[in-house]
């Protein structure tokens, strides 16, 4: 069996020293090649968990292993070649073109004084093609619509050539059609041996593309496993504290809240 892409062991994190734990002994092995959705109410620790995986936050106790190696053993640059982030709200202040923006994803492979080379440009171009926005390459990022901008951000992260792609609520600001487009791109990326870990507030988005689901509440893991085992009425009810029903519509799970 291949080692998990990310192995989270007993991770506890607090924002304030004496505060409540934002992550409370979280343990989960994220299978390599999976699309794992992290679901949970506001404040359940989803984004905090992504930030701990990135190394942006240091856990109080516990450890994270990435591709079988302790995360703190990686330098920041090494880690950024393995893990890419699509943040919740990417804000680009200057009018970089989509291509120039995607090219920034080569930073982990360039030292301080070097400029992007021909091969870096080729990787950025391939990333734009793989999310289907190569036609927008020369438009300013600032002029893109919400959905296009999100795809540009995904392309920028893909340009890092990461094994693991973290996405923080990638569809939360998008309308139905754009959300569907972004989810479709995420699904297509998995085929290339990449592990995708993303947070979402939309259980139906999770059932649409996820292979695995991690349910969280108050910094604790409620359940973690393959979609079919975890996306059930009782577990979702325990996660969200509202009566949730999961029904089968033409072979697909649909999550509904009871009034």
């Amino acid at each position: 069996m291949t080692p998990p892409a990310i192995d989270i062991r007993q991770v506890t994190f607090r924002y304030a020293v004496a505060g409540t734990a934002a992550l409370d002994a979280v343990t989960a092995a994220i299978p390599a090649g999976s699309i794992t959705a992290i679901l949970g109410p506001n404040g359940s620790g989803k984004s905090t968990l992504l930030h701990v995986l990135l190394g942006l936050l240091q856990p109080e106790s516990g450890a994270v292993h990435v591709s079988g190696r302790a995360q703190h053993g990686f330098s920041r640059r090494e880690l950024s070649r393995i893990m890419g982030l699509v943040p919740q709200d990417e804000h680009v202040t200057f009018e970089l073109s989509v291509f120039e923006y995607a090219l920034l994803g080569r930073a982990p492979y360039l030292n301080l004084l070097s400029l992007p080379r021909e091969e870096d440009r080729a990787v950025a171009q391939a990333a734009l093609e793989s999310v289907g926005i190569d036609a927008l390459a020369h438009r300013p990022v600032t002029s893109l619509s919400g959905g296009e901008k999100q795809l540009a951000t995904v392309a920028r992260a893909l340009t890092q050539a990461p094994e693991v792609l973290l996405l923080d609520e990638p569809t939360s600001h998008l309308d139905l059609a754009n959300a569907r487009r972004v989810l479709g791109v995420m699904r297509s990326l998995r085929g290339q041996g990449r592990t995708i870990l993303w947070t979402t507030h939309d259980p139906n988005a999770a059932t649409a593309i996820a292979t695995d689901v991690l349910l969280m509440r108050n910094g604790r893991v409620i359940a973690h496993g393959p979609l079919a085992e975890v996306m059930t009425g009782p577990l979702l009810t325990a996660t969200y504290d509202v009566p949730v029903q999961v029904i089968d519509v033409e072979g697909r799970r649909v999550v509904m809240v009871h009034e």
């Binding site: 942006l56 950024s80 073109s97 440009r121 094994e163 041996g193």
Partner: protein
Amino acid sequence: MTEIRTGTLPQVSDQERQGRRRVAILAVVLLALVGVSLFLGRYPGPYWTPLSALRDDALAQRLVLNLRLPRILGAVMVGMVLAASGVSFQMIFRNPLVDSGFLGVSAGASFGASLAIVALGGAPLTIQISAAVFGTLGLVSSYLLGTRIRYGDWVLRLVLAGIAVSALYSSGTSLLKYAADPLRQLPEITFWMLGGLWSLTWADILQIAPVVVPCLLVILLLRWRLNLLSLRDETAYSLGVSAGRERLVLLLAAVLATAAVVSKTGLIGWVGLIVPHIARRWVGSDAQRALPGAMLLGALFTLFCDDIARTALTGELPLGILTSMLGAAIFMALMIRDGAGMRR
């Protein structure tokens, strides 16, 4: 392992090629203006020194070599430094509306210079050092205050902090002016704050070049990193960028270079704000082109204004007045036309 497909080699886009061409054009135009400026002046007649005078007139030769040439080089350096710091400040603080004038650097430097003139004896070196120290202090206090303000987003907080810190320093400067000897010290303060290059000599150029040239080189070499630093911290971190350290190096280079030139020339306003805007519009926002473009354009703008300053009237117009006048007019025009690139 992750396979990354390398697609078709991307064509360099027309915009990019055009941007590069324009940077080259700016360089050529700057060289031409430097050449022309050598002949501009009020000797022997108004406005123009004919070639024949340069051949036959020993005074004209000395004038061109010992007064005009260092002054022209000074203008080029000042313009490059102010524009390069403008681009750096704007990208590092993710805010197209800041320059050294908005972040307490200019107000701090003015206070430092006034303090040196009034209380520390007023030797040129003391003025320079005091201006540099308080200029840096102005930036640091604006930044620290910006991180503590609990109102608005980062862009707004930083501008507000800069305004508050600048106001504080300005009131200090006013106090010093009030206390200054009205015959000896006050005119000196006023002239310093008006800004101008009339006093620049080869000795001044040789003093500031060892600071300015390495600082500009550092900023130029790190120009692609400016793009990375203009992203949010979370993203920069995920790209393996040590944002804190890189920002510190670039800010230090920008502030040291600015303080070095400003301490010699006094306040030359608006170049750092307006030039980067126009450069981005002309050669593109990617700092790979925007930074050299802005430096060349800044040198052109400053040299052009200084040519007017020293030729237009029999006396000398303070350069700072000209750059502010032109800069503010251009800024208003840009804001009205399209919000100065502040699309959000």
